[in-house]
C-alpha cells in the first residue's frame, strides 16, 4: 500500500490510531481488535537538548536527526520485572509472574538503522529459545519508519553494513519526507491496517510523487557517508586478529562506561538481580536490567579473576560480537551503522576506524 500524507494531516493520522474504534495489531484478529485498547503513539521530541521518544500527545514530530537512544527500549526496556517473590518462614515461597501489559505501541520516526536493529533483536530473543518478556512486548509494537534524506549524523555508515538510508527492514510503515508531504508505504499487514485507520487522510500518489520518491531515495543513497572498507571480509579477519596487540592499543583511551552499548540499537546484554524490599517476611522482585560488556565487572568472576581484564579485550568483545560472532551465528552484521557509539564516546573510540584498522592489519 503506497499513499501520500500531507504534513498537515499527520495529527489526524495520530488521532485515528489512538481513537480508531477497531485498532488492528500484530497477532490480533478483528474480534480481539474490537476489545483491545488502541495504539499508544510515541514520537521523537526534544527534551533538555536531547531527542527522545515521548508520548505523542496528539502530534508526531518528525524533524529529528536521530534520537539519542535507540527505540530498542520499547521491546527491551532497561528494567524488566520478571516476577515478585515472598517467603513467609515455614511456608513455600510464593512467586507471582509479572507479565508486560497488553498495550499496543506505535513508534514513529524510526530511522532505517534502528529499524534494521529490530530483526536483529528478534533473532537474539527468539532463536532456539523464546524470551516471553521480549516477545510479549514485541508483538504489540509497530515501527513507523522515516527514511533519511541525508545522513542525520556525521558518523552514519549504514551503507557499509548492508543497510541503506531508505531501508524498510524491520519497519511496519515507511515514511519518506517529500517536502510538504510524506510518501507512506505499508511494509507489513500491521502497517496496512494502521494506514487503513487513517482512511481518507491519505491520498493516492501521483506519477510525479513516485518520481520524486525515487529521486529522493537515490539522492539519499548517493550522499557521502563514513565507510567500513571491507565489511564482508571482517568476520574472517577479526577472527585472525583475535590476539593482535592492536586491540589494547586502540582501547587505551577506553574509560569503560556504558554509553556505546546503552545507546546501541542492537546491544542486548543484561543482568538479573533480586531486589529485596522486605526482610520479614522476605519479599522482593527479580529484575532484569541492561548490562554492558565494557564495564570492568561484566565478566568478573566471584573469585576475583576477570577473563576480560583489560580494555582491549573488552573493546574486542564489542566489535567482534557485532562483526564476527553475530555474523557467524546469523549470517549478518549486528551493527546497523547508526553511528551513536562513535558520536557519543567521550574519548573518541570509533568503531569504523577500529574495524578498518583490524581488517587492514596483516598479522
Amino acid at each position: 500500500m503506497e499513499k501520500i500524507l500531507d504534513k498537515k494531516q499527520i495529527d489526524g493520522w495520530v488521532a485515528a490510531l489512538t481513537e480508531h474504534p477497531q485498532g488492528v495489531g500484530r497477532g490480533c484478529n478483528a474480534a480481539e481488535a474490537a476489545t483491545t485498547t488502541l495504539w499508544e503513539v510515541h514520537t521523537p521530541a526534544l527534551d533538555e537538548g536531547i531527542w527522545t521518544y515521548q508520548p505523542a500527545n496528539g502530534t508526531a514530530r518528525l524533524d529529528h536527526p536521530n534520537t539519542k537512544q535507540s527505540p530498542k527500549e520499547f521491546a527491551f526496556p532497561q528494567r524488566e520485572i520478571f516476577f515478585s517473590f515472598e517467603q513467609i518462614k515455614g511456608e513455600a515461597p510464593r512467586l507471582t509472574q509479572i507479565v508486560p501489559k497488553e498495550q499496543r505501541h506505535a513508534v514513529f520516526g524510526v530511522r532505517p538503522c534502528d529499524g534494521r536493529g529490530v530483526p536483529r533483536m528478534d533473532k537474539v530473543f527468539t532463536d532456539h529459545i523464546e524470551d516471553k518478556y521480549y516477545t510479549s512486548r514485541r508483538k504489540n509494537i509497530a515501527y513507523v519508519g522515516l527514511a533519511c534524506n541525508k545522513p542525520p549524523s556525521p558518523n552514519c555508515f549504514c551503507l557499509s553494513v548492508g543497510g541503506s538510508p531508505v531501508s524498510s527492514d524491520g519497519l511496519d510503515v515507511q515514511m519518506t519526507d517529500l517536502g510538504d508531504r510524506y510518501f507512506v508505504k505499508a511494509i507489513t499487514e500491521t502497517g496496512k491496517a494502521m494506514m487503513a485507520a487513517g482512511g481518507k487522510l491519505f491520498a493516492d500518489p501521483s506519477a510525479a510523487d513516485q518520481k520524486l520518491l525515487k529521486k529522493t531515495h537515490d539522492d539519499a543513497v548517493a550522499y557521502p557517508q563514513r565507510k567500513i572498507n571491507d565489511p564482508d571480509g571482517a568476520p574472517a579477519k577479526l577472527r585472525a586478529n583475535f590476539d593482535s596487540p592492536l586491540w589494547q592499543e586502540m582501547a587505551q583511551a577506553c574509560i569503560g562506561c556504558g554509553i556505546c552499548t546503552f545507546l546501541c540499537p542492537t546491544c542486548h546484554c543484561f543482568d538479573i538481580n533480586d531486589e529485596v524490599h522486605n526482610k520479614a517476611p522476605l519479599s522482593g522482585q527479580r529484575v532484569r536490567t541492561w548490562d554492558n560488556c565494557q564495564f570492568p565487572d561484566f565478566t568478573m568472576h566471584s573469585s576475583g579473576h576477570n577473563p576480560r581484564e583489560g580494555t582491549g579485550a573488552r573493546l574486542r568483545q564489542r566489535v567482534n560480537h557485532k562483526f564476527q560472532y553475530f555474523h557467524e551465528n546469523f549470517g549478518m552484521h549486528q551493527c546497523t551503522g547508526c553511528g551513536r557509539c562513535v558520536s557519543e564516546c567521550p574519548v573518541g573510540i570509533d568503531i569504523v576506524t577500529v574495524v578498518n584498522k583490524v581488517t587492514e592489519h596483516v598479522g
Partner: protein, 145 residues
C-alpha cells in the same frame, strides 16, 4: 510535597553515637520521659563515622526523616570525630536542600549522656516537624506491584 495526613506516623531513622546520644536516649528511657516512638535508633561508634551514604540510604529505603546525634563539641570520645561530622553533615544537608528536599527532614543534634530530657525534646520536635511535611516520597524507592 505530600498532603499532611491525620493518621501519618513518620518513620525516623536516628543515628546515635554510642558514647553520648545513645546513652542519652537510655537516660530518657529510665527517667520515664515521654516522647514519640517514631525513631528507630541505630547506634554508631561516633558521628564522625556517619557516612553521607547512610543518610541517603535511609531516605532511599523509606525514612521520612533522618536524625544524627552525638557528643557536644569538645566532648568527643575520639577527640575530633564530631568536628569532622559537623563538616560532613553540613555538606550533606546543603546538597539535600539543593535538589529540593525539605530541610526539616534532616536534623543533627548534640545530646550528651546526661541529657535525657534534651533527647526527648529533640525527638519530639523532629517528629512534629516531619509530621507536618507528610511522607517522604522524593528519595524513597518505589516498589511497583
Amino acid at each position: 510535597m505530600s498532603e499532611p495526613q491525620a493518621d501519618f506516623e513518620p518513620k525516623i531513622v536516628a543515628f546515635l553515637c554510642k558514647w553520648c546520644s545513645s546513652a542519652g536516649s537510655d537516660l530518657a528511657g529510665v527517667s520515664r520521659i515521654q516522647y514519640p516512638a517514631n525513631a528507630t535508633p541505630i547506634t554508631i561508634p561516633c558521628t564522625g563515622a556517619v557516612s553521607p551514604m547512610y543518610i541517603l540510604s535511609a531516605f532511599n529505603k523509606g525514612a521520612d526523616g533522618v536524625l544524627v546525634s552525638g557528643c557536644h563539641i569538645g566532648d568527643c570520645h575520639y577527640i575530633e570525630g564530631n568536628y569532622l561530622a559537623r563538616r560532613k553533615m553540613h555538606l550533606t544537608m546543603e546538597l539535600l536542600k539543593f535538589i529540593g528536599l525539605e530541610p526539616n527532614r534532616f536534623r543533627m543534634s548534640w545530646v550528651s549522656a546526661a541529657e535525657g530530657a534534651k533527647f526527648a525534646q529533640v525527638v519530639t520536635e523532629f517528629v512534629d516537624d516531619v509530621r507536618k511535611l507528610g511522607p517522604q516520597d522524593k528519595l524513597r524507592k518505589v516498589v511497583s506491584q
